[in-house]
């Protein structure tokens, strides 16, 4: 329990310190906060591994009076992935967004925003109360919108405003579902809701919450806000936005569909969600293919990569939850969340290095950069392996598990999605890779500190290593899995 609470409050304390302290103490305080939170997140993981899911009733008040938190395998795993991305982003931002490079405004604002985002993500990963999740989502939204706008450029402001528009619309839809749920059942606790008597308005509540969360997750056709927002931010902020922020709303979606109201899932709705996911894979991939700027390619690829995760609904939900393949599909989807987080952060941080080196992320300007910056080129290539789903990366494990589940359940059509998506990803990642590794060079890059260059490389390597060591995380992710789905084991 101590681990869980430290993991929640440390980023908050660090953010408050970063706001209040004078400028010379700000960076040390922020980095100290990052370090301590990483320790707390590892501690929490060990605790979950040793003793199973950790549950806390805040203030000693059990639901429905109070709010319960529960760190299960899924929440703790996302917490560790978040910690890894945050460390990497902090190390990159130390170079890229330091006050003397980026000005006092960004030097002041980035750290508290990053730490508050972290605190909000952690809070969402373990929250068991639908309204508390709403508050957490709003904190994520406001910090994420600020991070989009932080560069101050006109395009960034417009992208941030459009993002806020969509995100607030999503929040209100979700809130409408929360209101209906409380009005009908007098509780918002996920575990208590799972045991409720179904009311006629529940389907509407579930539909509203789902629609809101889909907007926030940028699932096709609600994705239009994502690419401009993610590409307009400075690279470390983009890494946070693309790798972590959509995972929070996605996690809530999983919690609602698999834990709070699993009995409302019908084959039709599950297929509809997965179909939107499949369309996202195709549409995101095609648009990524058409872009000529690296950050936009990477941002559209987020639209595509998030699409895979929605295959989990027909493969592991509803009636299928008790089937043997459900565990595989569920774990595959979470693997995809983890692998995409690490790889996408690595790609954006690599893009940040390129922009710092040559002042542009146009593919034409990036030709031959691998010669001067080999580590970054290698990092981008490794991250690409994960996104493509090639063995031995975690992206491969994720797709393998989902395809196996699709065949085992006789829903073989869904297996086409990872297969086709992999081909599209190969096509849209080939262009930046061929530019970076071209023999001729377009521009002479400025030197980049060695320590900065290793950051994306380590992240990308981790995204591959996760696949090599997949048996440990596989077992970990089963901890505290929704009972209905666990029966299949």
């Amino acid at each position: 329990m101590t681990a869980l609470i430290s993991w929640l409050v440390l980023p908050l304390f660090a953010a408050l310190a970063a706001i209040a302290l004078p400028s010379r103490a700000r960076l040390p305080a922020a980095l100290l906060g990052v370090g301590l939170t990483v320790v707390a997140s590892i501690w929490l993981t060990i605790e979950v591994w040793n003793t199973g899911a950790v549950t806390v009733s805040l203030g000693g008040w059990r639901p429905p009076i109070g709010i319960a938190l529960r760190a299960d395998g899924l929440g703790a795993a996302l917490g560790v992935m978040t910690a890894l991305v945050m460390v990497a982003v902090a190390l990159a931002a130390r170079h890229e967004l330091a006050a003397k490079v980026a000005g006092p405004r960004i030097g002041f604002g980035f750290w508290p925003l990053m730490l508050l985002l972290w605190a909000a993500l952690n809070a969402v990963y373990v929250a068991r109360d639908l309204f508390n999740l709403y508050v957490g989502l709003e904190l994520i939204t406001l910090t994420a919108v600020a991070l989009v706008a932080i560069s101050g450029k006109a395009a960034a402001i417009a992208a941030a405003l459009r993002y806020l528009l969509f995100a607030l619309a999503g929040s209100l839809l979700y809130l409408a579902g929360v209101v209906l749920t409380y009005a009908a059942h007098g509780t918002l606790d996920i575990s208590l809701l799972a045991a409720r008597t179904v009311a006629p308005g529940d389907a509407l509540a579930l539909g509203l919450m789902t629609a809101g969360l889909l907007v926030k997750t940028a699932l096709f056709p609600f994705h239009v806000w994502l690419p401009p927002a993610h590409s307009a931010a400075p690279a470390p902020a983009s890494a946070l936005l693309s790798a972590l922020v959509p995972k929070a709303s996605l996690l809530i979606l999983l919690r609602i569909w698999f834990e709070a109201m699993p009995e409302l899932a019908t084959p039709m709705t599950q297929s509809a969600l997965a179909s939107l996911g499949a369309l996202a894979v195709i549409w995101g991939g095609v648009l990524a293919l058409l872009q000529s700027r690296l950050k936009l390619i990477v941002a559209y690829s987020t639209v595509a990569q998030l699409g895979y995760i929605f295959l989990v609904f027909p493969l592991a939900g509803g009636d299928g939850a008790a089937q043997p393949w459900a565990a595989g599909a569920w774990t595959g989807a979470i693997f995809q969340m983890l692998a995409h987080g690490l790889a996408k952060a690595a790609m954006f941080l690599a893009a940040g290095i390129y922009i710092a080196a040559i002042g542009s992320d146009r593919l034409g300007d990036m030709r031959g950069l691998a010669r001067a910056l080999p580590m970054t080129g290698f990092a981008f290539a490794l991250a690409s392996i994960t996104l493509l789903g090639l063995p031995p990366s975690a992206g491969f494990t994720a797709k393998y598990l989902m395809m196996t589940a699709a065949f085992a359940s006789g829903q073989w059509a869904w297996a086409l999605v990872p297969a086709g998506g992999g081909l599209l990803a190969a096509a849209y990642l080939y262009r930046p890779l061929s530019a970076i590794f071209a023999r001729d060079t377009a521009l002479t890059p400025r030197p980049i500190p060695w320590a900065w260059q290793t950051v994306p490389l380590v992240l990308a390597a981790l995204s591959v290593a996760l696949g090599l060591l997949s048996s440990i995380p596989f077992e970990f992710l089963q901890i505290g899995r929704p009972e209905q789905a666990a029966e299949g084991l």
């Binding site: 706008a149 405003l161 209100l172």
Partner: protein, 100 residues
């Protein structure tokens, strides 16, 4: 009966807000539309929380939290609209400014 009046008013306000959110392109008006939706939902919630014996304080607390959250979001949104107008001379999003 009185509660039904408030709940249906809340539902209608949500509808009005949704219309404003989609149909209006000036961002200040969209911010107001957001607040209409939010307050309509809260009115519905408040009416629902008043149905039982005595008033349920939990919806009231959640509504107060929601009102503060809505204010925070509105403040940031208003700041973004002013910044947008400063950098691009319009308070509408780029691809919508021309279509009215």
């Amino acid at each position: 009966m009185n509660l039904t009046v408030f709940a249906l008013t809340g539902a209608a306000l949500v509808g009005l807000g949704v219309y404003g959110l989609i149909a209006r392109v000036h961002m200040l008006r969209r911010i107001m539309a957001f607040n209409l939706i939010g307050s309509g939902l809260f009115l519905f919630f408040g009416a629902a929380g008043a149905r039982g014996v005595g008033l349920d304080p939990i919806p009231q607390a959640l509504i107060i939290t929601g009102i503060v959250v809505a204010l925070s979001a509105s403040a940031l949104a208003v700041g973004l609209v002013v910044a947008l107008a400063r950098s691009s001379g319009t308070a509408c999003l780029p691809d919508e400014a021309g279509d009215t």
